[in-house]
């Protein structure tokens, strides 16, 4: 069953008096129990999608979508309170930078305790309830792998190391027992060991708790190890999405191909000392977006038709937006 369904999400930002489409008709669906990876270069709008789902956008940014629904309920048309309730119970977000996303002047305990939904606390006197809250908080912190919970819980974020803060962010996201976890680059800038722990934790939660995960990252190796399906984003346009396996074997979009080729561990038959493949050019800035398919100027297969925005087409749930897809014959 589809829990989060996004169809043609467009986000417009005013820049120097002109409306710029930071996200252009992005489509994304998340099934129950699925780990979906959202991949793209930095600046491709991954975090903007996360923000648009959670609703934490500045009011002057314009969000339009054909569909932005959570279990069939339209997120864009519902009231603030309804959306808050969904964010409180069903969707949880882990942000990129843990130190910036934690209140610097509140202890970890205070911040974790306020995220615990009221329903989890048994009725009783205030001190009993406070105790129950603390117990839940310590439990969840232990679960995400923070070692010295009693020492860490009364500390301020700046007093702890980055990986404890990151684990704490995960604890804060999981304490409301959400159905969907949006992890916005949760392992950025981490050492391999800690990264591995966190990825294992997420994969484990997916199996044991039936947690769906939207995993936003550009770490292809981590993604291929855990994700079931993948959506590739380029410059605010979703270029291709489908099952992980199919996309690895036969990418339809030239950009996906380039992305896969840029990771050497993805091509086992790479000849030693051969030059690494990389696409020419760089990702354009928001002020200088090309018309039509935004990959156009960089694409090796581009032709005259690419100045028109390609429609989304699909072959067996493998969706792509390209006029001249690759590997079509063999699919």
């Amino acid at each position: 069953m589809i829990i989060l369904d996004i169809k043609n999400l467009t986000l417009e930002i005013e820049s120097n008096g002109v409306l710029v489409k930071a996200l252009d008709k992005v489509s994304l669906t998340i099934q129950e129990n699925e780990i979906r990876a959202l991949v793209g270069e930095s600046g491709s709008g991954k975090s903007l999608i996360v923000r648009a789902i959670s609703g934490a956008l500045p009011p002057q940014w314009i969000v339009t979508a054909d569909r932005l629904t959570w279990r069939g309920q339209n997120l864009l048309s519902m009231t603030r309170a309804q959306r808050q309730a969904i964010m409180r119970r069903d969707i949880a977000v882990i942000f990129q930078d843990p130190l910036a996303s934690l209140d610097p002047s509140a202890t970890l305990k205070d911040q974790l305790v306020e995220s615990i939904p009221q329903e989890f606390i048994p009725k009783g006197w205030p001190w009993q309830r406070r105790k129950a809250r603390l117990r839940i908080a310590q439990q969840i912190m232990r679960k995400v792998g923070i070692k010295d919970v009693h020492a860490a819980i009364n500390k301020y974020p700046h007093e702890l190391s980055l990986d404890i803060c990151q684990k704490f962010m995960i604890a804060m996201a999981l304490v409301s027992q959400p159905t969907l976890l949006i992890a916005d680059d949760p392992t950025r800038g981490m050492e391999t060991n800690t990264k591995q722990q966190i990825l294992t934790l997420l994969a484990q939660l997916n199996k044991t708790r039936n947690l769906s995960i939207l995993f936003v990252s550009h770490d292809l190796i981590a993604i291929s190890a855990m994700a079931h399906s993948m959506t590739v984003l380029y410059c605010g346009q979703s270029v291709e999405s489908g099952k992980m396996k199919a996309m690895r074997r036969r990418p339809l979009h030239p950009y996906t191909k380039a992305l896969m080729d840029s990771a050497p561990s993805f091509s086992p038959d790479l000849i030693p000392k051969s030059p690494l493949v990389a696409m020419d050019g760089t990702i354009p800035t928001l002020q200088h977006l090309p018309i039509g398919c935004r990959l156009g100027p960089r694409c090796p297969r581009a032709a005259k038709e690419c100045v028109q925005v390609p429609e989304e087409r699909s072959i067996n749930e493998h969706k792509y937006r390209c006029h001249y897809p690759m590997h079509v014959e063999s699919v």
């Binding site: 934490a56 409180r88 942000f95 209140d103 610097p104 509140a106 202890t107």
Partner: protein
């Protein structure tokens, strides 16, 4: 915490020592005989320590006796009146303190909440209204504002008295020096009339001092609120589905107030200057009025003591506020390595 306290205590002591040294050296820099400048007269019978200081030949020993004399309240006598300075200042000083206290309280009580309103309504109509009006308030010169208030409220409308602390009808014995407290303590008839009179004398000076302070508090609070609201952790609190009131009281309030406190400390010197100007204009019998009189009359001992005292007050208050803001800020050791 202890280290912070010790560090600030050290800082205050050293700064005060330098101030005392400067005030001592003033006696030598002023024209005339240094001994007379220090004492205020050729001979004073009842201030033995200060007289001894004058009689020493070594400057360092002189300074040592001078410090002792300061601690014992032997501050010399005034050229103009011949009365001991210590008693004069102790009479006048509470009046200044009272005026500044009310002005600061007024500015805080209105400035900080309105700053929050303005910051939360960032770039909306209310915000623009507050910002433009506070800019106008901030650019008023305080002496001009006081004169305009006297012109409009006292002379044209005749609503409030224009000078002094209390009408001559009431004779309140000097107990604490704070006029409202003194009235409450005294046992005169018609107490409520005396209260009414004292408050009507207070309104105009308090308003003129608090006007600029209000604008400064409003603007700095608003800036700080806007900064906090746009941070990543407030956005993340919104994504966690917390209610707006929860976010405000648990996250915005504390984080926005923490940087405002050091700004208040910086404002103290401006405030003292403004109080002195306002005292002169409203003939408020405080230390500022007295000090400016002393400057007109070239009353060197009074200038020396008055300047030292005002500087001491500014230093002590500023540093204690800074120390307090360091102590209550849980993020204080975030940059600890950079500070050492």
């Amino acid at each position: 915490m202890i280290t912070t306290l010790i560090r600030y205590f050290n800082l205050i002591c050293l700064t005060l020592l330098v101030l005392v040294l400067l005030s001592f050296s003033l006696a030598f820099f002023f024209p005339g005989d240094s001994a007379v400048n220090l004492l205020g007269a050729a001979q004073i019978a009842d201030q033995p320590l200060l007289s001894q200081a004058v009689n020493q030949s070594n400057v360092l020993v002189q300074f040592w006796y001078y410090v002792q004399a300061l601690f014992n309240g032997q501050w010399g006598v005034s050229f103009a009146t011949g009365k001991p300075l210590y008693e004069d200042i102790m009479q006048l000083f509470p009046a200044t303190l009272e005026l500044s206290l009310y002005a600061v309280t007024l500015a805080l009580v209105f400035g900080i909440p309105l700053g929050f309103v303005s910051g939360l309504q960032y770039r909306k109509k209310i915000d623009h209204a507050f910002m433009s009006s506070s800019m106008v308030m901030y650019s008023f010169p305080v002496f001009w504002l006081a004169l305009i208030l006297i012109l409009l409220v006292s002379l044209q409308a005749q609503w409030l008295p224009m000078s002094g602390r209390l009408s001559l009808l009431y004779d309140i014995p000097h107990a604490t020096g704070f006029i409202l407290v003194d009235i409450a303590l005294s046992d005169i008839a018609n107490k409520q009339y005396a209260f009414h009179d004292a408050i009507s004398h207070l309104i105009l000076p308090t308003l003129s001092v608090s006007f600029i302070a209000f604008a400064v508090f409003l603007r700095s609070t608003r800036r700080s609120v806007v900064d906090v609201v746009s941070t990543e952790y407030i956005k993340s609190a919104q994504t966690r589905g917390l209610t707006a009131s929860n976010i405000f009281f648990k996250h915005i309030l504390r984080n926005a107030l923490l940087p405002v406190l050091p700004l208040l400390a910086v404002q103290i010197s401006t405030l003292v200057t403004n109080v002195m100007i306002v005292e002169t204009i409203f003939s408020w019998p405080g230390i500022g009025d007295w000090l400016i009189q002393a400057i007109y009359e070239r009353d060197y001992p009074a200038i020396r003591t008055g300047i030292m005292l005002v500087a001491m007050i500014v230093v002590v208050f500023t540093l204690s506020l800074e120390c307090l803001s360091q102590l209550i800020d849980p993020t204080r050791d975030r940059f600890a390595y950079a500070r050492r």
